[in-house]
Amino acid sequence: MSADFTDPVWMYVGGAYLLAALGFGALGVVIIGRLTRWARAARMDTESS
């Protein structure tokens, strides 16, 4: 037995998974973006000095 997609409760299930995916994605983009920015700044600092 596995998923029964005819159940109207899938609105809520899908919503929960979608929000989780969007949240993880957004948090990952923000943190990795921050990391690349500061890693590049640190590299440029050591090269220039």
């Binding site: 998923a3 029964d4 809520y12 989780a20 948090l27 990391l35 500061w38 890693a39 640190a42």
Partner: protein, 241 residues
């Protein structure tokens, strides 16, 4: 153990491979766990399809608490041994913990709406998770409000430890409070008896959340270590010129 991580340079070389490693582990676990939980696992005989929300909700609740405990430990180390990296770790963990707590609240509401017929009930678990979320926000706000970074970290550490004492008090307070009011017993969701067929996807998702936390934490800590270096170098140059 603590001394091994004391050195920021050693942390940078360790985390350089550790954070992508944890990130790949998280992606693999999500790739296995999410389809397993969403499609291939059986529906519950009582809750039906809505039980699938549990697989994104319960790990968020576990790790929201776990991350706060981690921050409490890091705050303790930061206060006692004045360990700079412990402060970086606590600060880097806070936004991830806030996200897990918020995700737990939202998915819990999405589960409650079709199951209980209401988006929110004031029982002990929901209330303490809401308080935990507010505590995370307060920690972040205090850290952001104080300019001197070292002082901000250690004052936030005091607040974090005070919150660590407050959380169980809130939890048991609401439990006693609802027994005073009587009749919160209809809200026994999930319960102790989890069917073995649900344990596989649940533990896989819990592992995925843990690996995602490790990857995001290490990446966020690396960003902070780099930022402090750049800012210290800028300060030195400004003084020299």
């Amino acid at each position: 153990m603590i001394q091994a991580f004391a050195n920021p340079a050693r942390f940078l070389s360790f985390s350089a491979w550790a954070w992508p490693f944890a990130g790949v582990a998280a992606l693999i676990l999500f790739a296995i766990g999410a389809p397993w939980a969403l499609v291939f696992s059986p529906g519950d005989y009582q809750q039906g399809e809505s039980v699938r929300i549990m697989y994104v909700h319960v790990p968020a609740a576990w790790w929201a608490l776990g991350i706060y405990a981690f921050m409490g430990g890091a705050s303790f180390v930061s206060l006692i041994w004045r360990h700079a990296l412990a402060d970086v770790a606590a600060r880097a963990a806070a936004p991830i913990g806030a996200f897990y707590a918020g995700l737990c609240l939202v998915t819990g509401s999405l589960w409650g709406a079709p199951t209980w017929g209401t988006w929110w009930v004031w029982d002990a678990r929901l209330t303490s998770m809401l308080i935990l979320f507010l505590t995370y926000l307060g920690y972040l706000a205090l850290h952001a409000a104080i300019d001197d970074e070292e002082r901000a970290g250690r004052l936030a550490a005091v607040l974090c430890l005070a919150g660590l004492i407050n959380l169980p008090i809130v939890h048991y307070s609401v439990e006693w409070w609802s027994t005073l009011h009587q009749g919160a017993s209809l809200l026994r969701d999930g319960g102790a008896a989890i069917h073995p067929s649900m344990l596989g996807p649940l533990l896989t998702m819990a592992g995925a959340y843990a690996a995602a936390f490790a990857a995001l934490l290490l990446a966020n800590m690396r960003a902070d270590v780099f930022r402090r270096r750049v800012e210290a170098a800028r300060l030195r140059r400004a003084r020299a010129s």
